[in-house]
């Protein structure tokens, strides 16, 4: 009882902290841009001129994050499924895959994929280019898949075994149980952590700038170097933060809403 109380008391500040940075961000952005307008009107006008260039960069971040999550999800569900298999060997391989990619810094993985993969692939007489942004995508998809494997495995295992028994008794096959009973319940449980990961991977796409991918951060650096004014540099990075906020905040909000909705049933 005493322990439960402790946990409860600890969990309250953690929960409020989860929301607070977001609210703080929103206020900071608004106040910041409002205040800046008065002091740096000309720099802001310049920033507006650079906006299409920055938006082009952001597009790359969105593409990389969506692709990385897409590949990561497909791969992660597969690996998570292998973790649940009855064969000891497949289990072991899948577990090692998860451990290796979950415990590797994403930046290192991005460097790794950038230098391991060739810049183009020869297929007979065809040359398929393999640009840096694709390598960075793979570099992010690998850790994403390891995390998703864990999310998926955890979700399946969190469904109590009597659900399997009840389904069997209603003449469901193993596959039908998975399809109609287990997975729908997993989806509800796995969606919030999946969205969290999505937000995390989206923010990590800026790491791609370090291997020469022209995404938002790299575009901002270009703008800052070209204009070469301290106040503009500050503004342009503020703009980068604002862009990411606008991209990731809706994801976080949606996650919270889904968490609340699924908490009912």
């Amino acid at each position: 009882m005493a322990i439960e109380n402790n946990v409860l008391m600890l969990s309250i500040p953690v929960r409020t902290l989860k929301l607070d940075p977001l609210a703080a961000w929103a206020i900071a952005l608004l106040v910041g841009w409002g205040g800046l307008w008065y002091s740096y009107t000309d720099s802001i006008v310049m920033l507006v001129a650079w906006l299409p260039h920055l938006a082009q960069g952001l597009k790359m971040n969105v593409v990389i994050s969506v692709l990385a999550m897409g590949i990561g999800t497909a791969l992660g569900v597969l690996v998570g499924g292998l973790e649940l298999s009855h064969s000891r060997l497949t289990q072991l391989i899948a577990r090692w895959y998860v451990q290796v990619f979950r415990n590797a810094p994403m930046l290192v993985l991005i460097f790794f994929t950038t230098y391991v993969f060739p810049f183009e692939i020869h297929l007979g007489s065809h040359y398929i280019p393999f640009p840096d942004w694709v390598k960075a995508t793979v570099g992010l998809a690998l850790p994403a898949s390891a995390h998703i494997a864990e999310i998926f495995r955890g979700a399946v295992q969190s469904i109590p075994t009597p659900q399997w028994e009840a389904s069997s008794s209603l003449a469901f096959s193993r596959w039908q149980t998975l399809r109609w009973i287990i997975l729908p319940q997993c989806l509800k449980r796995a969606l919030p952590p999946w969205m969290n990961l999505y937000a995390m991977i989206s923010m990590s796409t800026t790491l791609a700038s370090l291997v020469g991918v022209t995404e938002l951060l790299e575009s901002a650096k270009n703008a800052s170097n070209t204009v070469n004014r301290t106040d503009f540099t500050i503004l342009v990075y503020l703009a980068v933060l604002s862009f990411f906020f606008l991209y990731c905040y809706p994801i976080t909000r949606l996650t919270r809403r889904l968490e609340n909705r699924f908490a009912i049933h």
Binding site: L170, S173, Q176, W180, P184
Partner: protein, 262 residues
């Protein structure tokens, strides 16, 4: 439907009709623990048979062997024309389970589905019944368990007794020949036990073959044609309810009944 005459006892004097469920010398162990040590059991079509006995005597295990959730090591189990002990494939067990309903102590409803969807999912997905037909039947079943007003509720919003009645409706939606009840009132609040027993009572009256593992002795005595007393993985005594409850021949049964009556 032979519903009315099966409630009388005279039907059971016909020796020709083979039992719907037959267990012969069924043995089962979990690791070192021998749970069933040679169980014999006959249940005739339309009968209600109650299995009573102390916890851990193998009552629930018998039910799980009958619908193939557990595989006995030795012995024979027949349900209708199916030799359950000889089923080797999942497909064969699925065919058996289409005919045998099972109601669990913990209800085990599907929490992500509404009440009506819980009842509909197996007939539609497994038996391939058309949705409109299945839905009409599901609503009839809900009316039968007096929950027609809860069709769109989710299991988490229902009381234990209501959930258990949905679970019974869900089992009946498959049109089983036989329903197994595994201590279905043990997890319920005392005030909701009655509503679940009332549903089972009607089911027995309508001629559904039922095997009940239960601790509700008065109910067992009232609805059953036969009482089975198990202890230590064996059937110690079986017979007509008034015999087993009021003049048990076996000292172990006597001790158990006596302890219950306090």
């Amino acid at each position: 439907m032979p519903s009315i005459e099966t409630t009388g006892t005279f039907v059971h004097d016909e020796p020709e009709e083979p039992a719907l469920v037959r267990l012969r010398n069924v043995h089962l162990s979990f690791g070192e623990t021998r749970v069933l040590k040679g169980v014999d059991l006959n249940v005739r079509r339309g009968d209600a048979v109650s299995i009573i006995g102390p916890s851990g005597s193998g009552k629930s295990t018998i039910l799980r062997c009958i619908n193939g959730l557990l595989q006995p090591e030795r012995g024979e189990i027949h349900v209708g024309g199916t030799a359950v002990h000889a089923l080797r494939t999942e497909e064969a067990r699925i065919e058996l389970r289409k005919r045998v309903g099972f109601v669990f102590q913990q209800y085990n409803l599907f929490p992500h589905l509404s009440v009506i969807a819980n009842i509909l999912i197996a007939p539609i997905r497994i038996l391939g019944v058309e949705r409109t037909t299945a839905e009409r039947e599901a609503r009839e079943l809900l009316a039968r368990v007096r929950l027609e007003h809860k069709a769109d509720a989710y299991p988490g919003q229902l009381s234990g007794g209501q959930q258990q009645r949905v679970a019974i409706a869900r089992a009946l939606a498959m049109h089983p020949e036989l329903v197994l009840f595994d201590e279905v009132t043990s997890a319920l609040d005392p005030e909701t036990v009655g509503e679940v027993l009332a549903v089972i009572r009607e089911l027995v009256k309508d001629g559904m073959t039922c095997i009940l593992v239960t601790h509700e002795m008065r109910f067992a005595e009232e609805v059953s044609q036969e009482i089975i007393f198990t202890e230590g993985g064996e059937i110690v005594e079986h017979g007509k309810p008034h015999e087993v409850f009021h003049s048990p021949s076996n000292p172990r049964t006597r001790r158990f009944i006596h302890a219950l009556n306090g």
